[in-house]
């Protein structure tokens, strides 16, 4: 699943329409979903963003190594308003922590950003915004860093700015990048499936399908799971009748070891 974490309603609206997302029943945050994508409106700032990530995790798939994208508006001294960037370095101005999101092979302009705690209109040579550090740190609890990305669209620079109260202007600024947003998400998803779908079987599920957990000691369960993993490197399915579900873990381990000649 891909999770979009967005600070404000006006930034979220274009993506809700783009991916045809439906509002989910959540009494805390606004979460929109379809089968493959969720979008959460978190409120401004890194703490809100981090809370949004955690809440999204527990209210949606609860799967580790899902893809996470923080998309939002940001300022810069000279970048053209409307330009989109992937962020390759985040500097948290308050904690002085540096974070380096994975630079993947997707062709997109990238830049560094400063994640600030309070709104500030003093432009400098880095993109500045308010969510990315909280977002990244929270996501990294659930996903490997290759599946966490930050996309920022320039909303203001030293000579011009969007009208932040004008929802239509913000909508247009974001939706014009719909192709990039779709392709970028697909690229992340493809990377994720190339790694994790190879692990064809969930060994935990296979184990529960084949055996009664109570017949195994803790160590035996670990051993059987390791042997099942080995088995599935060679075969795609396993016959239930190889084992005797009523027998002990020890007995069934012996059975599979015979098959594997181990």
């Amino acid at each position: 699943m891909i999770h979009f974490i967005i600070a404000t309603n006006s930034e979220a609206r274009p993506l809700i329409d783009l991916f045809k997302l439906k509002k989910k029943n959540s009494n805390k945050l606004q979460i929109y979903c379809n089968q493959d994508i969720s979008l959460t409106i978190t409120g401004i700032g890194k703490i809100n963003s981090a809370i949004g990530v955690i809440q999204t995790f527990y209210e949606t798939s609860q799967k580790t190594n899902d893809c996470w994208i923080n998309l939002g508006l940001a300022g810069h001294k000279s970048h053209k308003v409307g330009k989109i960037f992937a962020i390759r370095k985040i500097h948290d101005q308050e904690t002085r922590q540096n974070i380096y999101p994975f630079v993947n092979s997707f062709e997109i302009d990238s830049d560094e950003c400063i994640s600030i705690g309070k709104e500030n209109k003093r432009y400098n040579s880095k993109i500045y915004e308010m969510e990315s550090s909280g977002f990244f740190n929270a996501c990294n609890k659930f996903s490997s860093k290759e599946f966490i990305q930050v996309l920022k669209i320039i909303s203001d620079n030293h000579s011009e700015s969007v009208d932040f109260k004008n929802n239509e202007q913000i909508y247009n600024l974001i939706i014009r990048h719909k192709k990039i947003i779709i392709k970028f998400s697909e690229h992340m998803k493809k990377t994720q499936t190339s790694i994790f779908d190879k692990n064809q079987k969930s060994i935990d599920e296979e184990f529960l399908k084949l055996f009664k957990k109570e017949n195994f000691t803790f160590t035996e369960e670990k051993q059987m799971k390791s042997l099942l993993k080995l088995y599935f490197t060679k075969y795609t399915s396993i016959e239930k009748n190889i084992f005797n579900i009523k027998e002990s873990g020890h007995y069934n381990i012996k059975k599979i070891r015979n098959i594997l000649r181990l």
Partner: protein
């Protein structure tokens, strides 16, 4: 060489080697960092994905630069040390222990070569007997030489250090740096070899056996004494196929110009194996070894196989040149 992203530690951005390495790379992003560990060390990153698309990190190595080698790690000298001026490599061997040891597959190069070489000099001067240094312990020594030029600098240094031996271990056929200069008796290019069917199954992206053997022959024709490293030997087929492999090796190269031969079985700390089994769920060999670990099975009696290797190798090379690692 094309690498999209280079990370550079602030403190070495003006170092001569940093500038030279950067100038040899066709990159898109140059990102400065305080310390390489900010990128290299965090635990929640995926080695397999990074291996497909690695970045380069240039840093300064502080602290302990040269380490004593494990007790049995020797090619006949009393004092043995190793060092790692680089972590990770171009190749992608399924059995590579770096996947279990490191969190990141990015190439990490320590550009303060002078500090490594100074430390080596101190050790040589301190020890009375000859001291052997193994490079390429956590990388492949020659594979990235075109951008690092570390081997070139080290060889020049060892030319003046005749009580020091330098082993350059590699699977690469990138031997220009050795070919273009006069051979040194205290520098040993050493090539890791396995049968072609093992290379096909386990040593992704590496040069073929034939290409490695040709590289060895070329160096020997240039009067270099070469080390042969059957380490790790991956047992994956009948004994006959290994016998014919040894025959092929020794019939292709000049057996008069073999410096030493080492033999080693696949071995890995249990924590590394556990980690690799998670990132290579579909690999039979890794899962087989991991199951043995989980089941606490007695280490397979490998003596028989080792005996077979020694018997074959000693048909061509004097036993005094064969070492078990």
């Amino acid at each position: 060489m094309k690498i999209k992203t280079i990370y550079v530690e602030d403190k070495i951005k003006d170092h001569k080697n940093t500038k030279q390495i950067i100038s040899r790379i066709n990159y898109e992003n140059l990102i400065y960092c305080e310390h390489y560990s900010e990128i290299f060390n965090p635990s929640n990153q995926n080695f397999r994905i990074q291996k497909k698309f690695p970045s380069l990190i240039l840093a300064k190595k502080d602290g302990n630069l040269v380490h004593e080698a494990p007790k049995d790690f020797s090619i006949g000298y009393k004092n043995n040390y190793y060092f790692s001026h680089m972590f990770n490599c171009l190749y992608d061997c399924k059995y590579c222990y770096l996947q279990g040891m490191l969190n990141s597959a990015n190439y990490l190069i320590f550009v303060n070569y002078e500090d490594f070489l100074n430390k080596i000099k101190k050790i040589i001067l301190k020890n009375q007997d000859t001291t052997c240094f193994f490079s390429g312990y956590d990388c492949d020594s020659l594979a990235l030489e075109k951008i690092t030029r570390f081997v070139e600098k080290s060889i020049n240094y060892f030319e003046k250090m005749n009580k020091g031996i330098l082993e350059i271990r590699s699977k690469s056929i990138n031997i220009e740096v050795l070919k273009k200069r006069k051979p040194l008796p205290n520098v040993i290019p050493a090539f890791s070899l396995n049968p072609q069917f093992v290379i096909n199954n386990f040593e992704d992206k590496t040069p073929s056996l034939l290409k490695r053997l040709n590289a060895i022959s070329t160096l020997q024709k240039n009067e270099w004494y070469v080390g042969l490293r059957f380490d790790p030997i991956v047992w994956n087929d009948s004994d006959e196929r290994y016998i014919s492999f040894f025959n092929k090796v020794f019939k292709t190269i000049d057996i008069g110009k073999v410096h030493s031969v080492t033999l080693g079985n696949f071995r890995m700390p249990s924590t590394y194996l556990k980690k690799i089994s998670k990132i290579r769920p579909d690999n039979y060999f890794i899962q087989f070894e991991n199951s043995k670990r989980v089941l606490n099975l007695e280490k397979e009696k490998k003596n028989e196989k080792t005996e077979l290797c020694i018997k074959q190798i000693s048909k061509f090379v004097d036993k005094s040149k064969i070492f078990l690692n």
